[in-house]
Symmetry: C2
Subunit: 324 residues, 2 copies
């Protein structure tokens, strides 16, 4: 079994690589080869004894995607993307990376021919949705993105469905929830505070809360995200018909509920490290984000996420803080 | 006022050109210039005294779209498309014409810069929808196309919305109903029979009905389609927010209802010219097509279609048969 990961140098890409190497198997077969691609050369995973290829590749550049699929990977995790903020500030870069790059990858797969039809797991996003929403967003709700990133993800989804319908690849698109608690340093993403106000106090550091405690979002842990990807690579997709993209399960929680979970897990001392510093811009952006989904399709296919924010916190403590 | 029509040599393009020349005005301003583009050079309209440019252009070819927008048309009707059947049988041609061509047009508009922001009316299609459907499809229903053509139309719609949101153009996408009664000779489109069984008997010719009389579709006349386009070029789009594409009003009618209208308008002799010759392939395709929409958004914006099949027949008799 040969797996290709695009975006392998990113947070999810590195965790996925590590997990594939650690478990040594995917979809019931041994992982004998890994191809890791990203705009910078991904680091070599430790402890992998199979065939390894690493590519520093802009998928939209001529020949780059072809090089990534030349060895006919059985499973492709297409995680590479220009992130939301950058796709919004740099119009050309966003369309180049997220539309042209994705299309170039699909075209490279098609060009292999000879019956080649890999499983392709595409990471989409909640950004495919745009307000106004119903209280609970169902699987049949229209995609009306309000960012260029969301627009590009919709295009990736419909291309994925069309290439799948034509038997050129066997694709599934996962609309990921807000991934919380992201490890690492605080970043400037507008959604960063959802992670920051948990991760930093757990490490004894102060964190800024720029919105009110009533703000609600749809969360899943990095651990759940990796489980989504592995599950998506393994299941029979025929029950999906040609509706190949779907919202992943998550946990709808308010900031107040996050803080209450932090209090239960780490005590009042940790909670006291959250400093309230309202930011009108972030507040306005956040109120346009989806808050609650009915993800019955994903549940029927066996996807699962955390049931409480306590679980999300515990996953972080176990996976990032050595259990303490 | 300068109007550009892409796909100007097609049935709708020619009718729209004729209408613009005939009424001499659009959105309350005189039509002083027309640019007509198509893959073959569109015929010159008779009776137009303004500035006329005609382009034989593949919009996706380098420089072609730029040439079409160089004179900064105020309103652009983007009708050009590789039709559904051809986009399905020729994968590359469909994506080239419908995705690359549309994107090249939008990019050419963006490249003009200097605050240029034309009204752009894009013809989308019912093919953006894919079964299974609810009984009545509402404005918030997900787009899940089951053809490459439908996929390409979804991509055009979301690009239109993103370019509009960024102030690069002022776009509206119209999902057209089945256009019935299409003038001209019977064609091989799977949906052709909806028109054939009306138009041919009215002309004293036999027509083949390949499906059962219970088959239902969503219809509007060519006259209504032209009215949609002109209305879309004229109204304030701000109330749409960034949901810039919408299903047009139409008439949900069964084949039996079509035939009953034919009987009322042209008598039993005309109805007797319909020969039943069931075609399992067409029957299977047709059952996957949408049948009924709730088009309240379009109604609220002032779009209107025929209220009965008798009206559709009368429009055909008046517009194509000189009233007889």
């Amino acid at each position: 079994m040969h797996a290709l990961i695009t975006g392998a140098a990113g947070m999810i890409g590195r965790k996925l690589t590590e997990r594939l190497v650690g478990q040594g198997a995917l979809a019931g077969r041994g992982v004998t080869a890994l191809t890791l691609a990203d705009i910078v050369e991904p680091p070599p995973p430790s402890g992998f004894s199979g065939r390894l290829a690493r590519h520093a590749a802009d998928l939209a550049a001529p020949g780059a995607a072809a090089a990534c699929v030349a060895m006919r990977p059985d499973v492709i995790f297409h995680l590479a993307a220009i992130v939301s903020g950058e796709a919004e500030t740099d119009f050309d870069k966003g369309y180049h990376g997220n539309l042209d790059g994705t299309r170039a990858l699909f075209e490279a797969i098609r060009a292999v021919g000879d019956g080649y039809c890999p499983r392709l797991v595409f990471t989409s996003s909640m950004a495919v949705y745009g307000a106004p929403y119903p209280d609970i967003i169902g699987d049949d709700f229209a995609l009306t993105p309000l960012t260029s990133y969301g627009t590009q993800k919709v295009i990736g989804e419909v291309l994925l469905a069309d290439y799948s319908r034509r038997g050129l690849l066997d694709g599934i698109g996962l609309r990921l929830p807000n991934i919380c608690i992201r490890p690492g340093r605080p970043n400037k993403a507008a959604s960063g505070f959802f992670s920051n106000i948990m991760r930093e106090p757990l490490a004894g550091q102060e964190a800024i809360l720029p919105v009110g405690e009533e703000v609600r979002s749809w969360h899943a842990s990095p651990r759940a995200a990796i489980a989504f990807l592995l599950h998506a690579a393994s299941i029979d997709l025929a029950p999906m018909g040609w509706r190949r993209s779907l919202m992943m399960p998550g946990l709808s929680a308010t900031v107040a509920e996050q803080i209450a979970a932090l209090r239960r897990v780490a005590g009042e001392k940790a909670v006291a490290l959250i400093r309230r510093e309202p930011d009108p811009l972030i507040t306005r952006m956040v109120t346009g984000w989806p808050q609650r989904f009915d993800t019955r399709r994903a549940h029927a296919l066996g996807f699962q996420a955390e049931a409480s924010f306590d679980d999300i916190l515990r996953a972080h403590v176990e996976d990032e803080l050595g259990g303490r």
